[in-house]
Amino acid sequence: MKDISVKHLLGTEHLSKKDIELIFEWASHFKEIINRPIKKVPTLRDITIANIFFENSTRTKLSFELAEKRLSADVVNFSAGASSVKKGETLIDTVNNILAMKVDIIVMRHPEPGAALFLSKNVDSRVINAGDGTHEHPTQALLDSFSLLERFESLKGKRIAIVGDIKHSRVALSNIHCLKTLGAEVQVCGPSTLIPKYIDTLGVSVSHDLEETMRWADGLNMLRIQLERQEQSNLPSLRDYTLKYQLNRDLMDKVGKDLVVMHPGPINRGVEITSELADSDSSIILDQVENGVAIRMAVIFLLAQQLNRN
């Protein structure tokens, strides 16, 4: 058995295929455990983890906390509103205070892109990026690919489309890196105002037509329209977006293909996807949630195991 090659999980960009496969292998073991009557193992009873969330999150925080508790780690939580936090001294001060309590691993969400990297260079603990602004959200991408692999035997040559607000999405960027490393073809689809100009340098194709994308794809990852991150110019009309980019039954029937449907949540039902499709057999949204705990257990386990040998 091998070690993961990175000291921190800051993004999927620098994860090798072997690293991703190692995480998936351990996640499979943990998925079996979380489906037992007693979902807890005593493995990490000597490890302390701090979840520091400088930005609101319900499901990611809950998922990390469950993962940590199911591995029997000690968990401390810290939350701060974005408005009270400035990158730099304040972040380091906060974290150093937490580190003084002998924390081994920090799980951090922060509104600034690069905050996780900055932290990893300034603290002794291992850092897991739980979302840094519009940059990366690696565990989400890992659980997305892991969920796809439960439907497809391999992602090599599979065509996966990421639809919606690519510009403001950390999920999109992490997904692109992860999927491409695993051999998938990736297309992004959305209005031109929500797709960054540099995106083709990442080796993905671009479409502005959802129907055309659906004809091309084997799977769709429908991103949430992040209403809180929109500027007027990016999305002048939610109704216009819904008309052009909403995944619904009519469109699915028109394309006539059995596409796997994903969504990182929380869903704006009736905006990017209809309830009918979100709850259909094509949807693996709840699998994503379940796999999220297993993937996070695997990442924490691998970093903790490495920590003990360094």
Binding site: W26, H29, E32, R36, K40, P42, Q305, N308
Partner: protein, 182 residues
């Protein structure tokens, strides 16, 4: 030291037969009883043992499962090498079952302690017995003793007992001088 063969393949087969007969004598038709092999090496032994039991009692209902104890070990922070896990395969409830845990070599007893933890996290068995092929006696660090033993050997800490097998079955059990592979 040169490797010393503790049991060759013929002796191994005889030993397995004896152990299987001991189990049949104790459990008869194996109603409410399960044989659980510890991953990974105990798993192969348990499969061979279940085959023998079913050969002796063709109508017996012995259930067979595999248990991985990786996450229950007490040396997570003390190992030099990364852990490797195997799957736990139990497609029956262990609640109120009579369990026979099977492992190839019993040494310090720590793996069996982890196995007992792993087992009770899955339910509350009526009883648990331990069957081992090789008992390295006088090496115990915990008060754990087998209920059924294939062969007892006296060995020191720098030695290592290995049970070898191939796709046809068990080949031999050998005592080696332990070499640190770094």
């Amino acid at each position: 030291m040169r490797p010393v063969t503790i049991l060759d393949s013929k002796q191994l087969d005889l030993t397995l037969n004896r152990l299987a007969f001991q189990l049949v004598e104790r459990y008869l038709d194996f109603d409410g009883t399960a044989i659980i092999g510890l991953q990974r090496t105990g798993a192969f032994l348990s499969e061979a043992l279940v085959d023998k039991v079913r050969g002796i009692r063709k109508d017996c209902k012995v259930e067979h499962g595999l248990l991985d104890v990786t996450f229950y070990r007490d040396d997570f922070g003390r190992r030099d090498k990364p852990l490797a896990a195997a799957s736990t395969e139990l497609d029956f409830p262990i609640e109120q079952k009579r369990i026979i845990l099977v492992d190839d070599v019993l040494y310090t007893g720590r793996t069996i302690r982890a196995a007992l933890d792993a087992l009770v996290s899955l339910g509350r068995p009526a009883s648990v017995e331990l069957l081992v092929l090789i008992d390295r006696r006088f090496s115990r660090q915990l008060p754990i003793e087998p209920s059924y033993t294939g062969q007892m050997v006296d060995s020191i800490a720098t030695q290592h007992v290995q049970v070898e097998w191939d796709e046809k079955g068990f080949q031999k059990a050998v005592l080696f001088e332990k070499v640190d592979k770094g």
